[in-house]
């Protein structure tokens, strides 16, 4: 039962998880539609500034250094298959790198970063608060609970994949010394324990939930209730304005880049 005495609000000056979700949705969704490089760069910068201002670590951003070769590869593939613009590197008639390919490579990298970086805004928000925020947005509890489970189990999954990878190598397999074909076949083995682990955990979790009377009653009450403050309305309003402005610029501004 919800009573005023049991109502708790999150700490003052801290944004409601729903406001944070609005920022993430706004930044990530416009990054999907925007085609202009400068606009994507602007969205990414805004995402980074907001992530920093909201007290989150930008470690996710640092990880992109590791996939820089993926970006180079995509630029090359784009150049070969959609050879637009001035060729920068070419072997005979084959264009290995063109201005168009490079633009598309940069665009891809910026888009991925602009989608992922804002997501780190949610890292320090407790899963319980995220569920509560979604439930108060009238998202069915079952779906909100599934979202929270996904968030909770992602780090465990990555740990399991790492352990399995270590276990394979500890059987005396030197990955750099086996042929590519066998190496690819070996990677397929990684998913077996992870998939079975997920199924086993899901089965155990569902039993545990049943024993704790999950969905036994049609309506759930909550001890913790979130309350939107003025700053939250402001953030949500600004997020909406941001989406409208960016999409308008993207579709109606005919300037270059």
């Amino acid at each position: 039962m919800q009573t005023s005495s049991s109502t708790q609000t999150i700490e003052e000056n801290e944004l409601d998880p729903r406001s944070k979700l609005c920022i993430v949705f706004a930044l990530s969704s416009v990054a999907v539609f925007v085609q202009k490089i400068w606009l994507l760069a602007l969205i990414l910068m805004l995402g980074m500034v907001l992530t920093y201002l909201l007290g989150e670590n930008l470690h996710l951003f640092k990880r992109f250094g590791r996939i820089i070769w993926l970006f180079v590869g995509i630029a090359v593939i784009q150049s070969i298959f959609t050879p637009e613009g001035i060729p920068l590197i070419a072997i005979g008639k084959i264009r290995l790198l063109t201005v168009g390919g490079l633009e598309k490579g940069v665009c891809f990298l910026l888009r991925i970063m602009a989608i992922i970086v804002p997501a780190s805004i949610m890292i320090s928000t407790g899963t319980r608060e995220i569920i509560q925020g979604l439930v108060q947005w009238k998202v069915p509890y079952e779906i909100a609970f599934m979202v929270s489970l996904a968030i909770r189990f992602l780090p465990l999954l990555s740990e399991e994949i790492k352990d399995t990878f270590i276990a394979i190598q500890l059987r005396g397999i030197e990955l750099d010394k086996i042929p590519l074909g066998k190496r690819l076949r070996m990677y397929s083995y990684l998913f077996m324990p992870v998939l079975s682990g997920v199924i086993l955990k899901a089965r155990e979790l569902s039993t545990a939930m049943e024993t704790r009377a999950f969905r036994a009653f049609p309506r759930r009450t909550s001890y913790r209730v979130l309350k939107l403050q003025n700053q939250d309305y402001l953030v949500m309003g600004m997020s909406l304005c941001f989406v409208i402005v960016v999409l308008t610029i993207n579709f109606y501004y005919k300037g270059g880049f």
């Binding site: 270590i166 500890l170 059987r171 005396g172 397999i173 010394k177 083995y189 077996m192």
Partner: protein
């Protein structure tokens, strides 16, 4: 060195190692010890004392934050896991994480397949392991349908088929009944007689007392006792 003089070459040497997890928790503080072939060392201690972390440092899975771990005379930091795995077998606390193949038989032959061993030799070695670990009836079974104890035996069989010269086992008796525990004891003692060195991380006091030559007790990331057990201590 507790009955194992320096005349005998240590297989794993640990010199003043410390280990801190990336999150900042320091688990191992200034540890120095040696592990020998043909020696059954049990590592005991309460939960969170650093037993599993030490085991992973010995197997080269973790690299020490400071100090050195030498495996067969080589620095663990300079060895790839694949190279270590050719000499050291490591049993994880959760056997599911080291089972990859879609059948018990394939799981045991997994590594031999990748090493280009002939089909006939693989079949022979797999059959030997299936019999040794009483898994013959389950040879075509999907490994993830096995019980915890069966998975534990399968993981061990898959490690031993690789013929390691040193074994590190993290809680190998979990999920095994008394009978299977005794069988495991026999197998480990046989392996020791064949010259293998063993490090067993365990909470199972009876198993440790029945098998260990040496008991290393750790607490708060430090060795607080290093005790040599003689056959008489084990009632032999």
């Amino acid at each position: 060195m507790l009955g194992y003089s320096d005349k005998q070459q240590a297989f794993i040497e640990v010199n003043k190692i410390a280990y801190t997890y990336p999150q900042g928790t320091q688990v191992i503080l200034d540890m120095t010890t040696k592990f020998y072939p043909q020696q059954f060392t049990a590592i005991v201690g309460s939960n969170g004392s650093g037993k599993t972390t030490l085991g992973k440092l010995l197997a080269g899975i973790f690299k020490p934050t400071s100090g050195q771990v030498l495996i067969a005379g080589k620095l663990s930091t300079r060895l790839k896991l694949g190279e270590i795995g050719q000499k050291v077998g490591y049993l994880f606390q959760e056997p599911e994480r080291q089972i990859f193949a879609p059948s018990v038989r394939e799981e045991i032959g997994f590594v031999l397949n990748f090493r280009g061993v002939s089909e006939r030799e693989i079949a022979e070695k797999v059959a030997k392991m299936l019999n040794l670990f009483h898994l013959a009836e389950l040879k075509d079974e999907y490994p993830f349908r096995l019980s915890r104890g069966e998975k534990q035996r399968l993981a061990l069989a898959a490690i031993l088929v690789n013929e390691p010269i040193f074994l590190i086992l993290d809680e190998p008796t979990t999920g095994l009944d008394l009978h299977r525990r005794e069988e495991l004891s026999q197998i480990l003692q046989e392996l020791k007689l064949q010259g293998l060195g063993l490090v067993v991380i365990s909470h199972d006091e009876d198993f440790v007392n029945a098998n260990a030559d040496r008991v290393l007790e750790i607490s708060g990331g430090e060795i607080i006792a290093d005790q040599q057990l003689h056959p008489n201590d084990r009632g032999e």
